[in-house]
Amino acid sequence: MTDLSPQLLLYIVTAGGLFGIGLYGFIVGPQTLRRILALNIIGAGIFMLMVVLAYRGLADDASLPSTDPVLHALILTGLVVAVSATAFALALLARLNQAKAAQCSQDQLRHKQGPGQ
């Protein structure tokens, strides 16, 4: 069915599993922070798949066995892009929470003033 060695198979299945776990977390949530974490887990799963794919170069019977530097470079680029997006998402989340908190305290203030009038 498959030509992959057991080690590669193990890591590939793990990478797929991480994708699945992240996907579940992203759909179910419920808090936004957890969905952001879930996205990062999906990303980690995909990058792990890429690392394993790059590792195939070592297992090869090629004349110059080495890992795939192109894939490694792609992963580094992808990691930076992912962390940038995460940072922006977290900044948006912080702003949202701050706005919510301000709203809450305003409501409480109105509540307290309410009976007095």
């Binding site: 994708f19 992203f26 936004t32 969905r35 952001i36 996205l39 999906i42 990303g43 995909i46 798949l49 890429m50 794919l53 192109v70 894939l71 792609l74 680029t77 992808g78 892009v81 940038s84 997006a85 922006f88 998402a89 948006l92 989340l93 702003r95 949202l96 706005a99």
Partner: protein, 472 residues
């Protein structure tokens, strides 16, 4: 020439960050220069054929490949022109709308991202472009302040998820074939389980990012919350980026069996988008949401054309697809600018604000009506041209009565939501009083793309030829 088109927006955005005071001037200057260069590139491509470049001259496969064909250069020209127009509009209204200095560098980066995307023919480079586009779009939406944060965050998360699905597809394809260049990949393509899975994952991600039905849920909130010039850019250009990649994948890579399996689904999604998007646009009480839902519906046409193109392989459908994209970009820019101008001046978000607008703001309302005509597909307009190509293609295939009926129904729906606004505007009995004297310049600017979309009909023959031969 491609280098100029890529470097100029980037450099000007950087300078805008360093000296915020001269940002508007720099932005307008860059957009005009870029428009000229893009025009020159279009002429060059139409004379000498498509220009292919392997970056830095490294061997094929290792280098990132760029290609400027007539479609790409047309889209680059459209991007630069719309940037110029929206820049002018933003400059004319920035005191009132409190757009802030943040808008200018971001719009420069948006132009960079779009231009890079239209040119790139490398799967991973396209991923970076997609992420760039997604982040810059969200940053632009969040310019609106507190009310836009929630839709912006939702947009960002879904957009990230879409990119990750696309990236997984790229990883699988690279694992199987060991190349990223689309042209090289197409020559080695095998229609097996591996490539089908990768294609489906990438399609899922791209459909989410392009807000194609049924993954359009984030679009109305995000586009409606953004400031008017930003909504115009997002609706006109940004959602077309993923759509472009989607077409690239299915038209250049996918094998015959894969195409045959997926074509009816694309057409079906397009159909559902047309009908359901139209109904939502008819039902929403808010003016900007109506325009945003109309984007969902109009993207359905593009999807439908793509599905039919994959099914019948008829060049007329390719022309229809890209004519829809061009016409919709111009018409939607007008719609958002005009509606933004009207709602800002008359002070309200609901469609009922438009009451009597033909009296208080005749120019903006005229622009909206003209653009609406193109959305409906009234002759002679770009929208009509696209629809005509679609109908002609269907007619040539013969026996496609069902699709003809659906298109008529969708046309009626779009007519209904456009006329709902227009009829309200002509209700002059009790007009909504403007908060301040309407300004003329922004209204003229809003009218410009609408005029351009009607002018498209004049150049229908060369445009049709250009897009038919391209087919991507």
């Amino acid at each position: 020439m491609m280098v100029v088109l890529l470097v100029l927006p980037l450099l000007s955005a950087l300078f805008m960050l360093l000296w915020p005071r001269i940002a508007p001037l720099l932005a307008l200057l860059t957009a005009s220069v870029c428009s000229l260069v893009a025009l020159q590139l279009l002429l060059l491509v139409s004379q000498q054929g498509s220009q292919q470049v392997l970056l830095a001259g490294w061997p094929s496969g290792l280098a990132i490949s760029l290609e400027a064909n007539s479609l790409s250069s047309l889209l680059i020209l459209l991007t630069a022109l719309l940037q110029l127009l929206v820049g002018l509009y933003a400059f004319a209204t920035h005191r009132r709308d409190k757009l802030g200095a943040g808008f200018w560098p971001l719009s420069g980066m948006l132009q960079l991202g779009l231009t890079a995307l239209w040119l790139s023919r490398d799967l991973f480079n396209l991923y970076v472009c997609l992420e760039l586009l997604g982040i810059v779009a969200v940053a632009l939406v969040s310019l609106s302040g507190d009310k836009a944060i929630k839709p912006a965050l939702n947009y960002l998360l879904l957009s990230l998820f879409g990119s990750l699905c696309y990236l997984l597809g790229v990883a699988i394809l690279y694992g199987a074939y060991g190349v990223l260049d689309i042209t090289v990949l197409a020559s080695q393509w095998q229609a097996d389980l591996l490539s089908s899975t990768a294609l489906l994952l990438m399609t899922l991600g791209l459909m989410l990012k392009a807000a194609l039905w049924p993954l359009h849920g984030w679009l109305p909130a995000a586009h409606a919350a953004a400031p008017a010039p930003v909504s115009a850019l997002l609706s006109a250009l940004v959602v077309k980026g993923p759509l472009f990649i989607l077409c690239l994948l299915w038209l250049q890579l996918a094998g015959a069996t894969q195409v045959a399996a997926v074509a009816p689904w694309f057409a079906g999604c397009g159909l559902a988008a047309l009908l359901l998007g139209g109904v939502s646009a008819l039902r929403t009480p808010f003016a900007k949401n109506m325009v945003a839902y109309s984007t969902v519906a109009q993207l359905g046409y593009a999807m439908l054309a793509l599905g039919l193109l994959l099914r019948f392989n008829q060049p007329l459908f390719a022309a229809a697809l890209w004519l829809f994209v061009l016409a919709h970009a111009l018409a939607k820019a007008t719609c958002f600018l005009a509606v933004g101008e009207i709602t800002a001046t008359l002070g309200g978000k609901r469609i009922s604000t438009l009451k009597g607008a033909s009296q208080t703001m005749p120019l903006a309302m005229f622009a909206f009506a003209v653009a609406g005509g193109s959305l409906i597909g009234l002759p002679p307009s770009g929208g009509f041209l696209a629809k005509w190509a679609l109908l002609q293609g269907l007619w040539l295939q013969g026996g496609q009565l069902f699709w003809l009926l659906v298109i008529v129904l969708a046309t009626l729906l779009s007519a209904a939501y456009v006329f709902r606004a227009v009829v309200l505007a002509f209700n002059r009995a009790d007009p909504v009083a403007p908060d301040f004297a309407p300004r003329i310049l922004p209204q003229w600017l809003a009218l410009l793309p609408a005029l351009a979309v009607w002018a498209m009909a004049l150049y229908s023959e060369p445009l049709l030829q250009l897009l038919k031969q391209e087919g991507l």
